[in-house]
Symmetry: C2
Subunit: 206 residues, 2 copies
Amino acid sequence: MEFSSKIIEQAVNTFAQLPGVGKKSALRYVLHVIKQSNEEAEQFAHLINKLKTDLKFCNSCHNICESDVCGICANPARDHSTLCVVQDYRDVMAIENTGLYRGTYHILGGLISPMDGVGPGNLNVDTLIQKIAVGEVKEVILALNGTMEGETTCFYVFKKLAPYTITLSTIARGIAVGDELEYADEVTLGRSITNRVPFNTMFTVK
Amino acid sequence: MEFSSKIIEQAVNTFAQLPGVGKKSALRYVLHVIKQSNEEAEQFAHLINKLKTDLKFCNSCHNICESDVCGICANPARDHSTLCVVQDYRDVMAIENTGLYRGTYHILGGLISPMDGVGPGNLNVDTLIQKIAVGEVKEVILALNGTMEGETTCFYVFKKLAPYTITLSTIARGIAVGDELEYADEVTLGRSITNRVPFNTMFTVK
């Protein structure tokens, strides 16, 4: 694409760095910003700066927050003996939205994926082990994606945590609520049968 | 969606104002910016500000440029007697990329679309008529989308320009190069037959 203005070109290239955004979409966004009022565009630029200056990562769980420790870790009403290991901030949001979990979190910051150049060293596993070593945590729930990368990371974390006397579990894999059995893949259906749940525990909220 | 941080929430809402971006994509973009280096994020914010402060609209054709008159209007080598009327900046880019047009442009800034609240008054039609009234322009080419909105706008501009002694044309509607006849819709195929082109003029570059 050839642009009549250097500024548009730079702006398009910058927007195109966002995940899943190509040059055509980037140009649409740039033209939208040009059409915005001065105040709106200033506010946009200001918020992008603020994302870097005002946000921190929680010292304990690596969640994104505005202070040194996030609201969940600092909350004495949460169950600090249960730790849920997740990939990133969006998973914390998703689990919080269920309203069914009262423990704390630990964010790995990614999944092991040699294809994308992410190895175990790039994940927040050391701080997880340090946290377990203190002894306060009794149960660790691995809540990672059901993908190859998620399963690999699950297994890696499981191996690392094996020496400690804690309860280790992973979230259940199975048929999604509302899904039909006949369309489920064999692996998922197989797992949902192997890991079947006694009927009376199914609706119990912990 | 519930966010743990007010800044993230504001940033997500701002990104979600971009055309075609929902809250989920906006959150992906925000998390991407948080992961960027300070310099990258600063540059991003700086460019957004620059889009508003450094860019202007051409006094003559309403194209986006960095000075009062755009490079195309200021270029004496372009044919100023031919004017191509387009919807927006992207259409100028698209036509320039063909390398087959040496005239100038006039950007309407939109298409008549009552559904989106865009009426004839919102388009740059008055400045178009002023330009025609000067008498330098001999031919006007309407290069608007083949949609309902494009055709409506085409007809509106045609009516407005009818009193002036200029050649008025629209770009040809027909079968795209590389397309197969059997998959073309009837209206397009019908038009391509009605507006058939003498064989020897087909490959002539003006």
